[in-house]
């Protein structure tokens, strides 16, 4: 029986049961959906920051791009996915506010667009995917609007909802 499973901030879930994985209200966070269309297993990570720098990774591997991607791949392979048959779709990484001179310590910026965090998240996810040779087959990132993501793990289709642009499928 397939279910609707919530994937909260910094969370990571996988399914071989045709579940739909949902992340509500993504801002600068990135939803990383990786799936094997043949084996019908898929997983979703709600990535919040680009780099773990060795912190908190055990508790929340889904929080950082550089830990979420390998962890997701590992979990999917454990569920029977073929490492070479994996595909990825990315959604999110928006810039919600523009505040002149905002600090954003975690992003390592003393000043300037704190903004960059969404784009940096996307960049970091792409780099991690590149290292594991997982191809990106769909992407809807950037902009300055929030998105809700519903990822059908059996078909690999992502349903995106936004207040400004309504509904679309990826």
């Amino acid at each position: 029986m397939s279910d609707l499973v919530n994937v909260g901030v910094a969370d990571l879930k996988v399914s071989d049961n045709s579940d739909t994985l949902v992340s509500y209200g993504l801002g600068s966070c990135v939803a990383v959906a990786i799936f094997d269309p043949v084996k019908k297993v898929g997983g979703l990570a709600h990535v919040m920051l680009p780099e773990s720098r060795g912190k908190e990774t055990a508790a929340a591997p889904g929080k950082f791009a550089d830990t979420a991607v390998p962890h997701l791949v590992q979990e999917l392979v454990r569920l029977g996915a073929r490492p070479k048959g994996l595909k990825c779709k990315l959604v999110g990484g928006a810039q919600m506010f523009e505040i002149p001179g905002s600090r954003n310590k975690q992003a390592g910026l003393a000043c300037g667009p704190s903004a960059n965090i969404g784009a940096r998240n996307v960049e970091a996810v792409k780099q991690a995917l590149e290292e594991l040779k997982v191809p990106i087959v769909g992407e809807e990132t950037g902009g300055n609007h929030g998105r809700t993501v519903r990822f059908d793990t059996s078909s690999g289709v992502i349903d995106i909802t936004s207040i400004y642009f309504g509904q679309s499928a990826l």
Binding site: G8, V9, Y24, G25, L26, G27, S28, C29, M48, L49, K63, A94, Q95, M96, F97, E98, I99, P100, G101, S102, R103, N104, K105, Q106, A107, S114, I117, N144, H145, G146, R147, T148, T161, S162, I163, Y164
Partner: protein, 209 residues
């Protein structure tokens, strides 16, 4: 009971002290807002509570609910951020009261209305900070405000990142506005950086045990 990251909880006394700052701040804000819109603006006695960050979207109808957010960074003797959250409905009626225009535009957030809301967030935050500053002798400096209307979750996840994710618990000061007799509900959410809350409570004379 609400606890902060290190597992501490706020006592009744501490909540009272923070609410008192809210009271004084609300008084200051009401005067400033009245002057801005040339209307009588009242602000209710605020409720202060410590709340799990992940529960904040529930205040305004869940992570997908459309909200207006005004966001500022705070620097100075203490650091953190402040976010004013208004449900879309509240934002529209507040903006409508502040910038009376055509009825046809009632459901539209025009540039002028957005700017009015942004200014409201700025005034409210600054008023609360000033009150807190007077009571603690600490100096707070708010940044220029950012403004967005979007899903509550999207607005909060941005703030979360900006906070370096140090705060699991945040201080929420709930405020009712009365503009020309119409009531609007707003939530002023304070995100103290690590150590900031205990510094403030120390100065207020109600330190953590």
């Amino acid at each position: 009971m609400a606890k902060d990251k290190s597992g501490r909880s706020l006592s009744e006394l501490q909540i009272d002290a923070l609410r008192e700052a809210g009271n004084i701040g609300a008084g200051n804000a009401a005067i400033a807002l009245s002057q801005m819109v040339s209307k009588k603006v009242g602000l209710s006695t605020p409720k202060a509570s410590l709340m799990r960050l992940s529960n904040v979207p529930e205040l305004v109808g869940g992570p997908e609910a459309p909200v207006a957010g005004v966001y500022l960074n705070v620097t100075g003797d203490c650091s953190g951020s402040i976010l004013l959250l208004l449900e879309e409905e509240s934002a529209l009626s507040l903006a409508g009261l502040m910038v009376p225009g055509d009825i046809e535009e009632a459901d539209d957030l025009t540039v002028v209305k957005k700017s009015a809301l942004q200014e409201t967030g700025s005034i409210l935050s600054a008023s609360y900070l000033n009150a807190l500053g007077q009571l603690t002798g600490l100096f707070f400096k708010p940044s220029v405000p950012g403004f967005a209307v979007d899903m509550a979750g999207a607005i909060l996840d941005y703030v979360l990142v900006d906070l370096a994710s140090s705060a699991d618990y945040v201080l929420v000061v709930e405020t009712d506005f009365m503009v020309s007799g119409v009531k609007v509900l707003g939530h002023l959410v304070l995100f103290p950086d690590l150590g900031t809350l205990s510094k403030i409570l120390d100065r207020l004379g109600v330190p953590f045990e």
